[in-house]
């Protein structure tokens, strides 16, 4: 992790703090500390970003605001990007408005560009392999065993080569295959109304928030969503069915639980689960856990399919080296829920929402496949 990134992502939550210098036992450092405190306190500014709700989506627009939200705990998703909103950056580079290498000659690739390079590589490898496999089949049917052996050998060489290629640093791959420079033809293809002037283009991307994220920001950090008060926002997220077992409230409990324990919580749809937990965030490391929410009284049509589904999820999650976490959320009684809900409707404050949420309980279990042949020693 580069120093630059570490600095860019120095807020795990959308709130600024006063960063005290290290205090030692020397009285001079206290004074220095006090000075630093007062100075920062004077400058301390909290920015609350406005969230727009329209067409059933929670949006944050404008590069500055998007970064503000994304950089404080990796909240939201750029709709034209994999995760971090990088569309503007990528497009500028594609149109030749920005160089591929920075002033120190370092490669500046976004997540999407890296993936694309790797994919191209993989596609090429697959084509070659397919060719060899077709030959193999040909020799199998004709019964030409010597040629078959030759081709099989070629195939294993190819596989080995590919394995080594995958270890190559990206920079080398880029130099070999992708002499990406400002592309004039691309620029010509882009519609003229994309450009503000010769050097600037419009940012078409916005950051989309999951409903749980929108509620979290509003509930804990006072972000405004249109002009809803907290209760109205809650109602909206619950799709106006204010039931004790509404899946939104279960998700929110789980989201808030992990978020408030310092985990970076992202959507788990990619892996068929509800959430992914990162130690610090996607740029720093891969997710450690995939969370599956288990309501405590779900209706079940078929026991078999339930087992199959969980087994399938665990396979996908296990295949990418994550641990499957089952979060069982126990609901309060309908009456208790209704009572707290009425109070919340009466005074839509964070405290009454908190009282409502604290009626729930959470229990956590790790699910993993156990192989007798691997657990004997």
């Amino acid at each position: 992790m580069s120093k630059k990134q570490s600095k860019q992502y120095d807020r795990p939550l959308p709130i600024n703090i006063i960063n005290l210098p290290v205090v030692t036992h020397n009285p001079i450092s206290w004074i220095w500390c006090l000075g630093s405190y007062l100075k920062q306190w004077y400058q301390l500014k909290q920015t609350a970003v406005d969230i727009q709700y329209c067409d059933g989506l929670f949006k944050v627009s404008g590069s500055h605001y998007m970064n503000e939200v994304w950089n404080s705990g990796f909240i939201g998703k750029g709709i034209l990007s994999r995760s971090e909103p990088t569309w503007l950056q990528r497009t500028r580079r594609r149109l030749g408005l920005d160089p591929l290498f920075d002033e120190r000659g370092r490669l500046q690739l976004t997540n999407e560009e890296t993936v694309q390079i790797r994919r191209e590589e993989r596609k090429k490898f697959k084509l070659k392999r397919e060719e060899l496999e077709a030959q193999e089949n040909h020799f199998k049917t004709t019964g030409d065993m010597t040629s078959l052996r030759k081709v099989t050998k070629l195939k294993s060489i190819l596989i080995e080569e590919n394995r080594q290629r995958q270890r190559k640093p990206l920079r080398e791959l880029v130099m070999e295959n992708y002499p990406v420079t400002g592309d004039k033809t691309e620029q010509a293809r882009a519609t003229s109304n994309l450009f503000i002037d010769e050097r600037h283009i419009k940012d078409l991307e916005y950051l989309q928030l999951m409903p749980v994220e929108a509620l979290f920001l509003s509930f804990c950090f006072g972000f405004e969503v249109n002009d809803f008060n907290l209760f109205e926002l809650f109602q909206l997220c619950m799709s106006h069915s204010l039931e004790v077992d509404n899946s939104f409230i279960l998700s929110y409990i789980v989201y808030h639980h992990y978020k408030s324990h310092g985990w970076c919580v992202k959507s788990g749809t990619k892996f068929g689960s509800d959430f992914l937990l990162y130690r610090r965030g996607p740029p720093f490391q891969h997710a450690e856990f995939a969370v599956l929410i288990q309501p405590n009284n779900k209706p079940s049509n078929s026991p078999l399919n339930e087992w199959i589904d969980i087994s399938a999820i665990s396979r996908v999650v296990g295949g990418v080296n994550k641990t499957l976490l089952l979060s069982y959320v126990t609901q309060p009684t309908r009456d208790a829920f209704q009572q707290a809900l009425d109070l919340f409707a009466e005074s839509p404050t964070p405290r009454s929402l908190r009282n409502l949420l604290e009626l729930y309980h959470i229990d956590e279990f790790i699910y993993r496949r156990w192989l007798p042949s691997r657990n004997r020693a």
Binding site: R119, F271, G272, S302, L304, N305, I308, S311, A312, G319
Partner: protein
């Protein structure tokens, strides 16, 4: 011998000839017992071959030369009916086998000794004689009881159309959810009639896994998950299924019936001829959809 023994509604095949003939029909089952050849491992197992419910039903419906024998009923009846005469015959049979075994051993021994003698070793005559009294004895546990003389009569007793119908009904009624089981079965038979070999697929994240031929030779192509009547298909699970299968070079398939199976209506329709009824269900189309994961943006 084409009998399919069931014990407490589970198809368990102990006879290796039957296992062979089932394999020719594309019914692979699952070997679940300890293999005498190597008893401390789980990669290669021996009899009994455990059949899936769908396999058992498929064979009974489509291959009338196979018939169900309820082992629990049969052996109880057998023990109750064994006369002293029968026991005597069994004893004789065992003795005969034992003597045969000794005979082979004796011959081996003598051959070895004379071999040694011709090679010039001096061996006293007394050592040349094989002493059957002191030699260790091998006690065999047979796979099946087919050698027992009375078994044939019992088989004949069960191999009657009306008895088979009754047994089949019992088997169907033992299912915890008949409508689901029949859906599974119809998907199974749809795939089987399209040439696929099918095994259970829980560990791959499906109900079945389908192979283009004998699983001994080919990798599987499909992971199949049934969708039952009225069941909602969650998008997240489709994403997951596609990812799962694509990662192992397979295709994720969801399958269901276009016609609703009316469970309550079964009672009367099943009664007279369950085989024909099930065959008539097979005429109704099974719909399948395959999913492939195309990456995420």
């Amino acid at each position: 011998m084409n009998k399919l023994p069931i014990s407490r509604n589970e198809g368990l095949i102990f006879d290796i000839e039957t296992i062979k003939s089932l394999r020719q029909l594309g019914i692979v089952g699952y070997l679940s017992g300890t293999l005498p050849l190597s008893t401390q491992q789980n990669n290669f197992l021996g009899v009994p071959l455990r059949l899936l419910f769908e396999e058992l039903l498929y064979v009974t419906v489509h291959h009338p030369e196979y018939f169900i024998v309820p082992d629990d009923v049969m052996f109880q009846g057998l023990y109750a009916s064994l006369t002293d005469d029968d026991l005597h015959r069994i004893r004789q049979f065992a003795e005969k086998e034992h003597n045969q075994r000794l005979e082979t051993k004796r011959k081996e021994f003598e051959a070895k000794m004379s071999q040694l003698r011709t090679n010039g070793k001096k061996i006293p005559d007394s050592a040349m004689i094989y002493n059957t009294e002191k030699e260790p004895v091998f006690h065999e546990i047979k796979n099946t009881s087919n050698h027992i003389p009375n078994i044939e009569t019992w088989n004949d007793h069960f191999d009657q159309p009306e008895v088979q119908t009754k047994l089949l009904l019992q088997l169907l009624q033992s299912r915890p959810n008949l409508s689901h089981s029949l859906t599974d079965y119809l998907i199974f038979s749809h795939l089987r009639s399209n040439g696929y070999f099918i095994t259970a697929g829980l560990r791959f994240g499906g109900k079945f896994v389908a192979y283009p031929g004998d699983p001994l030779r080919y990798h599987s192509h499909l992971i199949i998950k049934p969708v039952y009547n009225g069941e909602k298909i969650e998008l997240k699970k489709l994403v997951n299924g596609g990812r799962l299968a694509t990662a192992v070079k397979k295709v994720y398939v969801i399958a269901g019936l276009t016609n609703k199976i009316d469970v309550d209506g079964f009672g009367s329709q099943l009664q007279p001829n369950p085989k024909e009824f099930i065959k008539s269900l097979e005429a109704g189309p099974v719909k399948t959809f395959s999913f492939e994961w195309a990456g995420f943006g």
